[in-house]
C-alpha cells in the first residue's frame, strides 16, 4: 500500500505551522497559488513569517492577505510589482525584501530539494544581486555562486492529487509548485481534485508523492485572474 498523506482539510494540514517560520508558496502571480492554505494562515494569525514566493499577490488576494494583516516579516521573491501594500511596507522599512532573479529562485528551490547546496549561474553577475557572492569564470564567462533554499513548510497547489501525494498541475499553474514541493521539510499540497490510490497514470505525474507530506482537498477555489486579456468574439466579415 502506498503511504497515505491525506489529511482532512486546511486546518489539519497546517497544524504545527508557527510564527517565525520560513514558508514557501507556489504560484506565479495569482496562478497556481495555494489559496486554501493562505486562508488558513490568515485564520491562524501566525506572524513574523519569511515567505519565499515568486510574487507577493495583489492587495486583496494571495499573499496580499497575509501582508494586510502584517503577518510577513520578510519576502524572498523575484517580482512584486502588482501589490501596492507590499511597496508601501517595503519602502517604509516594515518589510524586509530579498529580490532575486526568477531563474535563480526556481533553481535554488530545486537545489534545496535535491541536496545540492550551491551552484553557479550567470544571472545577476555585475548587479547588486551578486553583492557578497563568489564569482567565478567558466568557459570565459563570469558566474555567481547561488545557494540552495529550503523551507520549514512548503505550500503547493495542484489540479489533481492522489492519496500517495502524487500531483498533477494544470497548464501554467505548475510554475514554482514542483520545486517548492521538493524543498519543504514539510510539504502541504492542496488539490482541486483528490483521487484514490492508483487513479493517476504513473507516467503523467509531475510531483512524486515522496515530496509531499500532507495532501487535502481544497474548497471554494476563487482562481482569480490578474489580467483578463481577451479577443472580442465577433463574426469576421470576408472582405
Amino acid at each position: 500500500m502506498a503511504i497515505s498523506k491525506v489529511v482532512k482539510g486546511s486546518a489539519e494540514a497546517c497544524k504545527g505551522v508557527q510564527s517565525g517560520m520560513t514558508l514557501m508558496l507556489g504560484g506565479f502571480g495569482l496562478c497556481g497559488i495555494p489559496e486554501c492554505s493562505i486562508a488558513e494562515l490568515v485564520r491562524m494569525e501566525v506572524k513574523d513569517l519569511t515567505c519565499i514566493s515568486n510574487n507577493a499577490g495583489v492587495d486583496d488576494f494571495g499573499l496580499g492577505l497575509l501582508l494586510q494583516k502584517r503577518q510577513i516579516r520578510k519576502m524572498i521573491s523575484s517580482y512584486v510589482g502588482e501589490n501596492d501594500e507590499f511597496e508601501r511596507q517595503m519602502l517604509n522599512g516594515d518589510l524586509e525584501v530579498d529580490l532575486i532573479p526568477q531563474g535563480s529562485l526556481a533553481e535554488r528551490c530545486r537545489a534545496g530539494g535535491a541536496g545540492i547546496p550551491a551552484f553557479y549561474t550567470p544571472a545577476g553577475f555585475g548587479t547588486e544581486v551578486a553583492n557578497g557572492k563568489e564569482v567565478r569564470d567558466f568557459n570565459g564567462k563570469p558566474h555567481v555562486l547561488e545557494s540552495a533554499l529550503t523551507a520549514d513548510v512548503a505550500f503547493v497547489k495542484a489540479w489533481k492529487g492522489d492519496k500517495a501525494g502524487n500531483l498533477i498541475f494544470k497548464a501554467t499553474a505548475r510554475n514554482f509548485n514542483p520545486m517548492m514541493a521538493m524543498a519543504g521539510k514539510i510539504t502541504i499540497a492542496e488539490v482541486e481534485e483528490l483521487l484514490p490510490e492508483g487513479a493517476l497514470n504513473p507516467n503523467e505525474i509531475h510531483t512524486p508523492g515522496i515530496f509531499v507530506q500532507r495532501i487535502f482537498q481544497g474548497e471554494n477555489y476563487d482562481k482569480r485572474i490578474e489580467q483578463r486579456t481577451v479577443r472580442p468574439r465577433q463574426i469576421e466579415s470576408n472582405g
Binding site: 496562478c31 510589482g81 468574439r233
Partner: protein, 218 residues
Amino acid sequence: MLDKNGIAQRIAQEVRDRWYVNLGIGIPTLVANYIPDGMDVEFQSENGILGMGPFPMDGDEDADLINAGKQTITAMPGAVYFDSATSFAMIRGQHVQLTVLGAMEVAQNGDIANWKIPGKMVKGMGGAMDLVASAENIIVAMMHTNRAGDSKLLKACSLPLTGVGCVKRVVTNLAVLDIQGGAFHLVERAPGVSVDEIIAATDGTLVVPDDVPEMQIS
C-alpha cells in the same frame, strides 16, 4: 517616428524562421502580432509555456493559462507546459534564440537597467536578469527618451543594473542602433526622423555612418 506597434513591427523583422523567442512585457509582447505568415516561430513565456498563442476569445479565458505578464493567453497546437526550473533551463541553457525586452536605460557598453529605481520603485527583476545574462541575442525595445524627455541611451546607466555588456541591438521610436566597441552605432532611422533628431536624443556616444537608411516598415 514610430509608435509602440511600429517598434514591434520593426523588431519582428529581426526574427528568423525556426526560432524560439521570449518576449518581455509591454512593447515586446506586440512583436508576436507582426511575424510573417508561413514563418515558424514559437514563443516561450518564462512562467512555463512554449507555443504561446493569442489572447483567448472573450469567455474562454482560463485562470490556469497565463503568460509572464499575468495575461490570459491560449496555447497553440504543439504547445507544452513545464515548471519554472525547466523554463529557465531553456533560457540559461541558450535554447531560446532571441530575447526581446524593455528597458529604463541602456548604456553604450551594453549594460541595461530595468528593474529598480532606488527609494521609489521596486518591482523586482522577474526573469530579466536570467534572460539578459544568458541570451545570445538580446534586442531592447523602448522609447528613445523618457517622459521627462531625457535620453535613455546613456554613456553609463545611472540605475541599478539588470545585466552587464549584454545588449547588442536597440530599437526605439526613433532608430535602430547597434552596440559595439563601447558606442551606439546608428543603423536605421525611423520614417520621417532625421539623423540630427537622433543625435539630439542620444546621450551616449553615437557613431553615425555616412548613409543612414530609413526603416522599411510596410
